[in-house]
Symmetry: C2
Subunit: 278 residues, 2 copies
């Protein structure tokens, strides 16, 4: 990683403005690289939502408002370079599987547990996008029928019950005072009864979701990333026990913490760009 920039998405400006910002940023990065004596050979862009990687189209995004934006071709035309468009979590999973904590395994499920929950299934270093670019939406499987309303409109989804936002919300409802997920983890470790209850329930719900994923994907290793995974052993140790309790004949996945942090998506975008070179 030679150079990193962070810019706000500014989604409130609408999807067209976000696309312009992405194009300006990509052109600016290419210009800086050339000014530094480097030769850009390809561009990788990753975005959230439903992404058709084959067509290079950002098909849908709740947060950014994308609706069928041909982002790959827009980037390629603007920079006059080969380009690849990817899904943020799937690209992060690709990076973790090829270069990060999954590098010793052939069948990897990368699970990002942060504000939302999503997964990327990577086999032999190739990410699996599904028929419409919507595979791996682990945050939107029902784990508590009739449970907490989810941002997508359904109820009882894993993301609504056990994301970092869900942990924070549940603690606030029970304790009557706000706390981030990280604070809930710290308070649970310090013996706070409400925090212990919320964290225990969260681990149980996550185990339910990951066992469903294991039953369908039969992974070798699950690489846990996103904000909630920063709890480290406070998450992985009880989660491993809870998963083991739920498995009957299914094979147990090896649980590991992600290695690349919040740069996994950027590294994955670069891998997609390299794969896209003619």
């Amino acid at each position: 990683m030679l150079h990193t920039e962070r810019h706000a998405t500014g989604a409130d400006r609408g999807p067209d403005a976000v696309v312009e910002t992405i194009l300006d940023l990509a052109a600016g990065l290419a210009g800086k690289a050339r000014a530094g004596g480097l030769t850009p050979v390809a561009v990788g862009v990753t975005v959230p939502g439903v992404v058709d990687e084959v067509a290079g189209v950002a098909a849908w995004s709740a947060n950014v408002g994308f609706r069928d934006v041909p982002l790959r071709d827009l980037v390629s035309a603007r920079l006059a370079l080969p380009a690849a468009l990817g899904h943020d979590v799937r690209a992060g999973g690709l990076a973790e599987a090829r270069l990060g904590s999954g590098r010793d395994f052939r069948h990897v499920l990368f699970v990002a547990i942060g504000t939302g929950i999503a997964a990327a299934h990577v086999v032999d270093g190739q990410g699996f996008a599904g028929a419409h670019g919507a595979a791996g939406e682990l945050g939107h499987i029902v784990v508590r029928p009739g449970g907490t309303p989810c941002g997508c409109g359904a109820r009882g989804h894993l993301e609504a019950e056990a994301s970092a936002a869900g942990v924070s919300r549940r603690y606030a409802a029970l304790a009557g005072s706000p706390a981030t997920a990280a604070e809930v983890v710290a308070r649970a470790a310090a013996g706070d009864a409400v925090a212990i209850q919320v964290w225990t329930e969260t681990v149980e719900v996550l185990a339910d979701g990951l066992v469903t994923a294991q039953t369908l994907y039969d992974t070798e290793a699950m690489v846990l990333g996103g904000g909630l995974a920063e709890a480290g052993d406070a998450l992985l140790a009880p989660l491993g026990v809870a998963i083991r309790e739920r498995l009957t004949f299914q094979r147990e996945p090896i649980l590991v913490r992600a290695a690349l942090g919040d740069e996994a998506g950027c590294v994955g975008a670069a891998l997609l760009a390299l794969d896209a070179r003619p």
Copy 2:
């Protein structure tokens, strides 16, 4: 299909005797083919349970009692032919995807709903077995937490709630008299209130399971086979409605009925054998 034979598994005789029967049958089929002027070029065998297709090992089966049986090499040695070992449902899915109802689609999930429930995920004509040969165990995801005990030891699994056996059991419990799943479907169509209730609940539970599968796999088409799928439109029509009600941003899968019936597994075994030729 030139010749078909059906023989009882005789699982009560133990796994060694079942293996001997399989070897005898395969040798007998090859002999009959040669006697008829044909030249066998490869053998395909499919079995239920956890099957390691790469190693050619029947790793585990509740029904037959297999524990790490190197069935591919045993068959190959006995017949002096190249051999392939596959999983019965995954092989059936391969056949449906390549030659049956899935042949017009690239991303297919074959779902066998009979005494048990299992699925096979096939993309571009290649079946996906998972890291340990246990992928696609759709019957063993939890759809009703704390619900009906499943044969595997857990509770509330799709197979326990909505297999043909589950339908029959539920009807008997509510109506006080036994009925097969097919009879429940017929009685529901004829207006029997208990049968309507059981069938409606079954469709709801199946929709819950298939929506979870769609959320993780993002299939293009789901091919429904097994005994319960013989209900035809009495299953597919309400199931399609129930799936649609549950989807939020996920793409809707096309539902189709399997075309190859209970010979899908045999056709799939032949496809695996052809793929295994040197």
